[in-house]
C-alpha cells in the first residue's frame, strides 16, 4: 500500500471521531466506532506487516500542511513499519475487545470520540518525518489519551491523574521541542532528513540525548518521570489502558529510537551510561512498587514501567556497543529491545483486557476483594495465566526470549574498552535479573490472589464469564505470546531490516539453524530452542500423567481443605495481597518506597480488636515532585500580593519602571 494509503487510513479514523460526535443511540455508536476502528487499523496493520516482511523499499510523502514552507513530511521505513505494525495490532485487538467491553460503558459519549483520534495520533507520530508533524501528533496523542483518562472524571482521583498526566506530557513535549530546536540548529529546517544530513557538525549532542531521554522517557514511563503513569493508565477504560500501556509507551520508545539512533548521529562512548542507569533503576523501581500495589490495574501499570526499564537497558547496551564499534553485539542488544517491545505490547494488552474482564464481572479493581475466579471465569483465567507466565519471563513463553537475548548481550560486554561501562554492566545485569524475579513474584501474587483461593467478596463469588469478543481478543493474544515464544527465530529475522537500518548490521539469519533454534552469536556460545523446550515439557508432563493415571490410581476425593488440621471456613483468613507482599516489603523497603507497619495488639482480656496498619510512601513523589509543586505555589502566593495593591502603589510600579529604564539609558548609552 502506498504511503498515501496509510494517511487515508488515519483520515478515516479522524472521520470516525467526527462521526462519534453525532447524536445516536449508544449501542449503535459503540458498534460503529469500534467496528470502524477495527476495520481501518486491521488494514493498516496488514499493510505495515507486509511492508516489514517483504522488505519493500521506503516511501516518503509531503503534504502542503503544517508549517507552510516546510510542509507535512511523512516517511515509512523499516523502523516505522515495525512500530506501526505493533501499534495497529494493539489497536485491532483493543477495538475488537471493546466491541464487547464498550457496551458496559456508562458515558460512551466521553470515550467514543477520542478513541479513534488516539489511534490516528499514534499512527501519525510513527509516520511523521519532520519535527512539527512529529510533535503535533505526539501532543495530539497525549491530548486524546488525556481526554480518555478523564472519561470517568467523577471517579475520585481520576481528575488528579489526568492533570498530572497532561502536565508531565506537555513538559516532555517541550523537552523534545528543545531537542529538535537544537538539532535543527541555525539551519532552521525541521525536516528529519535535513537534521540527519547535518548530524556531523552538531556539537551539543549530549544535551540533545538528555532532552530526548527526558522527553521520550517521561512518556514511556522512565523513572523518575514515571509518576504519572500508574495514575493515568488505570484511570482510563480498560481497552484504553491496554493501548496506553501496551502501545503508547512503544510509540515513546520509537521517539527515542528515532532521535537518538537515527537522527542524532554516531553515539559518543558514554551515551550508554545514562541510558543503562536509568533503565536499570526504572526496571527495579517499577517491579518493586508493582509488588506493593493492591489495585490490579495499578500493578499492571507499574509492571509497564518495569518492562520499559528492560527495554531501555537493552537500548543502552546497544548504544554502548555501537559507540565502541561492535556492530554484531549492538545488533543483538537492539534486537532484544525491539523483541521486548513486541512482547510487552502483546502480553500487557492481554493482561489489561483481563483486568477489564474482571472489572466487568465483579466491578472490582482491588485485589483484596477478588479471589477464586479461576473456577468462575475459566477462560479468562487461563488467558491471564498465560499472560502472567509470559510477562514473568519464564520459558517457553515470549517474555523469556527477549530477556535471554538481553542477558546474552550483557555477556558480550567485556569487549568494551571503557571502564565505567565494564563496572556498570554487570550491576545492570544483576538488577535486570532482580527485576525479572520481582516481576515473577508480583504476578504470582496477582494471579494467586485474584484467580486462586476462595472468593474474598460477594462480587467475586457471583462473577460469571465475560462476553465472546473479550475472550477471543484475549485468546488470540495468549496464543501469540506462546508462538513468539516458541518460534523466536522468525521474529528475529523479521526484525533484521530495521536493526540494520539503525545499526548498519543485523543479527545472523536464524533460519539456517536446525530445529528453529536461535543462537545470538555462535551456537557454541549459547543457543536456545523454545520449540524443543516446549515440546519436552508438554510431552514429559503428559507422559507422567498418563503413566500414573494408567498404571497407578486416578481416583481423587473432593474434601474440605486440610490446612494442617486447622481448617477455617472464613475466606478472610486467606493470604491477602498485603500479607503476600510483606516479606518483599520488609526486605526491600527504602528502595523507591518506604513501608511502615504498626501493630496495635490489645492486652489479654481487652475486648477491642487488634489493629494492623500499613503505610506506604512513594519516595519519588515525596522527595522529587512535592518540593517542586510547593515551591511553585509558594512563589504564586508571594506574587499574588501584587493583585491587591492600591492604585498609588501600582503607579509607583510604573514610576519605578520608568526611572529604572532612564537610569539604564543614562548609564549604558
Amino acid at each position: 500500500m502506498p504511503l498515501s494509503g496509510y494517511l487515508i487510513g488515519v483520515a478515516a479514523l479522524l472521520l470516525l471521531t467526527l462521526a462519534a460526535l453525532l447524536p445516536r443511540p449508544i449501542r449503535a455508536g459503540t458498534v460503529v466506532i469500534y467496528g470502524g476502528s477495527l476495520g481501518v487499523t486491521a488494514v493498516l496493520f496488514a499493510s505495515a506487516l507486509w511492508q516489514l516482511l517483504s522488505g519493500a523499499d521506503w516511501m516518503a510523502l509531503s503534504l502542503p500542511l503544517g508549517i507552510p514552507w516546510l510542509g507535512a513530511n511523512f516517511r515509512l521505513d523499516a523502523l516505522s513499519a515495525f512500530i506501526l505494525a505493533v501499534v495497529d495490532f494493539g489497536a485491532v485487538a483493543a477495538s475488537f475487545y471493546a466491541l464487547g467491553y464498550g457496551r458496559h460503558e456508562h458515558e460512551p459519549e466521553r470515550v467514543l470520540p477520542f478513541y479513534p483520534a488516539f489511534l490516528a495520533a499514534m499512527n501519525l507520530v510513527v509516520l511523521a518525518d519532520d519535527a512539527f508533524v512529529f510533535l503535533l501528533s505526539w501532543e495530539m496523542m497525549s491530548l486524546s489519551s488525556w481526554a480518555l483518562v478523564m472519561s470517568h472524571h467523577q471517579v475520585p482521583g481520576n481528575a488528579r491523574a489526568g492533570f498530572v498526566y497532561i502536565v508531565m506530557a506537555s513538559i516532555g513535549t517541550f523537552a523534545l521541542l528543545l531537542a529538535f530546536g537544537l538539532m535543527a540548529g541555525d539551519v532552521g529546517d525541521y525536516a528529519f532528513s535535513t537534521m540527519r544530513a547535518h548530524a556531523s557538525e552538531r556539537t551539543v549532542t549530549g544535551v540533545v540525548l538528555a532532552l530526548a531521554l527526558f522527553g521520550a522517557g517521561s512518556k514511556a514511563g522512565l523513572a523518575p518521570f514515571h509518576v504519572w503513569l500508574p495514575l493515568a493508565h488505570p484511570a482510563a477504560p480498560s481497552h484504553v489502558s491496554a493501548l496506553m500501556s501496551g502501545v503508547m509507551t512503544k510509540v515513546a520508545v520509537y521517539g527515542f529510537l528515532r532521535i537518538v539512533f537515527d537522527i542524532l548521529g554516531a553515539p559518543a562512548w558514554w551515551w550508554g551510561l545514562p541510558v543503562l542507569a536509568v533503565g536499570a533503576i526504572t526496571a527495579v523501581i517499577g517491579a518493586l512498587l508493582g509488588l506493593t500495589q493492591n489495585d490490579l490495574k495499578r500493578v499492571l501499570a507499574y509492571s509497564t514501567i518495569e518492562n520499559i526499564g528492560v527495554i531501555f537497558i537493552a537500548l543502552g547496551l546497544s548504544l554502548a556497543f555501537r559507540a565502541h564499534g561492535y556492530g554484531a553485539a549492538a545488533a543483538l542488544a537492539l534486537t532484544a529491545a525491539l523483541f521486548h517491545v513486541l512482547n510487552h505490547s502483546l502480553f500487557k494488552s492481554l493482561l489489561f483486557f483481563g483486568s477489564g474482564a474482571l472489572l466487568t464481572a465483579t466491578g472490582e479493581r482491588s485485589l483484596a476483594r477478588l479471589g477464586g475466579l479461576l473456577n468462575r471465569m475459566p477462560m479468562t483465567g487461563l488467558f491471564m495465566l498465560v499472560g502472567c507466565v509470559a510477562i514473568s519471563a519464564l520459558p517457553p513463553f515470549n517474555g523469556f526470549v527477549s530477556e535471554w537475548l538481553a542477558f546474552q548481550a550483557i555477556l558480550l560486554s567485556p569487549v568494551l574498552s571503557s571502564w565505567a561501562l565494564k563496572l556498570m554492566i554487570p550491576a545492570v545485569g544483576a538488577m535486570l535479573a532482580l527485576a525479572a524475579a520481582l516481576a515473577a513474584a508480583a504476578y504470582v501474587r496477582v494471579f494467586g490472589i485474584a484467580f486462586l483461593g476462595r472468593p474474598r467478596s460477594d462480587a467475586a463469588r457471583n462473577a460469571v464469564e465475560v462476553d465472546r469478543f473479550s475472550l477471543i481478543a484475549m485468546g488470540t493474544l495468549g496464543v501469540l505470546c506462546l508462538l513468539t515464544g516458541v518460534l523466536p527465530g522468525l521474529v528475529i529475522d523479521a526484525l533484521g531490516p530495521l536493526v540494520s537500518q539503525l545499526i548498519g548490521t543485523a543479527m545472523a539469519n536464524q533460519s539456517q539453524l536446525g530445529w528453529l533454534a536461535i543462537a545470538p552469536i555462535a551456537e557454541s556460545r549459547s543457543s536456545y530452542d523454545g520449540l524443543l523446550v516446549f515440546l519436552f515439557i508438554t510431552t514429559s508432563a503428559l507422559m507422567a500423567a498418563a503413566i500414573i493415571h494408567r498404571f497407578a490410581s486416578d481416583v481423587s476425593r473432593i474434601a474440605p481443605p486440610w490446612d494442617c488440621g486447622f481448617p477455617d471456613p472464613d475466606s478472610a483468613t486467606q493470604y491477602t495481597p498485603e500479607s503476600f507482599a510483606q516479606p518483599v516489603r520488609r526486605v526491600f523497603s527504602g528502595l523507591g518506597f518506604a513501608a511502615s507497619e504498626t501493630v496495635d495488639m490489645p492486652r489479654p482480656g481487652d475486648q477491642r480488636p487488634a489493629r494492623f496498619e500499613l503505610r506506604l510512601k512513594d519516595l519519588v513523589w515525596d522527595y522529587g515532585y512535592q518540593p517542586v509543586v510547593s515551591t511553585v505555589f509558594t512563589i504564586a502566593d508571594i506574587l499574588n500580593r501584587l493583585q491587591f495593591l492600591t492604585i498609588r502603589q501600582y503607579l509607583s510600579l510604573v514610576f519605578a519602571a520608568l526611572v529604572f529604564l532612564l537610569l539604564a539609558l543614562a548609564i549604558w548609552t
Binding site: 493583585q643 491587591f644 503607579l651 526611572v659 532612564l662 543614562a666
Partner: protein, 220 residues
C-alpha cells in the same frame, strides 16, 4: 534668535521646575492648589512666549486654555471640593518631605543627564526645554506616588501634564499641540468629575480592599 529670547524661555522653564519643587514641598491642600495655579500661570506665560518666538498663533489658544482652565477653573473647583468633602487640610504624605525633595533633586539630575546626551543637532532651546519638561514630568509623577490624597494626586497629574505641554510647545512647529492640550484638559476634567462622582472614596486608593475581594471572588 537672540540670547534674550533664549534666556526668557529658559527662565520660564526653570521656573516651572522650581514650582514643581514647591508643589512637592507643600503640606496644605489650599496652599498646594494655589501653587499649582501659579505653575499653570507660568506655563501659560511660557507657552505664550513660545507662540511669540515661533510666531505660531495657534499656541496662544493653548496658552488661553491653560490660563482659563488650569490656572482658574480647576483650582477653584478643587477648592470647593476640598471644602465640600471636608478633607482635613493636612496633606498626608506617604514618604516624608525631606526624602521626597532629595528624590526630586535626583530625578532632575537624571533628566538632565539623559537629555544632555542628545547631540546639539536639536537646537539648544529645545534641548533645555525638554530637559526641564522631563524633570517636571518626573516630579509630577513623584508627587502622584508620594501623596495618598486624591486632590494632591490630581494636582500631581496635572503638573505632569504641564510638563508635557511645555515640551510640546517647546518643540518648534509641533503640530496638534492645541488638540493635545484640549484632549488633556478633557482628561483632567473627567478625573475631577470622577472624584466628584466617587466621593465615596476620597482618595484613589480604593477603600477597604477586602470588601472588593468579596465582589471579585478573589482571595489573598
Amino acid at each position: 534668535m537672540g540670547g534674550l529670547y533664549f534666556d526668557i524661555a529658559h527662565l520660564f522653564a526653570g521656573g516651572l521646575v522650581l514650582i514643581s519643587f514647591i508643589l512637592l514641598y507643600q503640606d496644605r491642600l489650599y496652599a498646594l492648589l494655589n501653587v499649582f495655579a501659579l505653575q499653570a500661570f507660568v506655563l501659560a506665560l511660557s507657552v505664550a512666549w513660545q507662540a511669540y518666538v515661533q510666531d505660531a498663533p495657534h499656541l496662544y489658544i493653548t496658552a488661553g486654555i491653560t490660563i482659563a482652565f488650569k490656572a482658574i477653573a480647576i483650582p477653584v473647583a478643587l477648592h470647593r471640593m476640598v471644602s465640600r468633602l471636608g478633607v482635613h487640610r493636612e496633606v498626608e504624605t506617604v514618604v516624608r518631605l525631606v526624602p521626597t525633595m532629595l528624590a526630586g533633586i535626583a530625578l532632575v539630575a537624571l533628566s538632565m543627564v539623559v537629555m544632555l546626551r542628545v547631540t546639539g543637532s536639536a537646537d539648544p532651546l529645545a534641548r533645555e526645554d525638554l530637559a526641564f519638561a522631563l524633570s517636571v514630568v518626573l516630579l509630577g509623577m513623584l508627587m502622584m506616588v508620594t501623596r495618598s490624597n486624591a486632590v494632591s494626586q490630581v494636582v500631581g497629574f496635572m503638573s505632569l501634564e504641564n510638563g508635557l505641554i511645555l515640551a510640546a510647545t517647546g518643540a518648534k512647529g509641533m503640530p496638534l499641540v492645541v488638540e493635545i492640550s484640549v484632549a488633556f484638559s478633557i482628561l483632567i476634567a473627567l478625573i475631577v468629575i470622577g472624584i466628584f462622582l466617587f466621593r465615596i472614596r476620597e482618595r484613589f486608593d480604593s477603600v477597604d480592599l477586602q470588601v472588593l475581594d468579596d465582589y471579585r471572588g478573589e482571595s489573598r
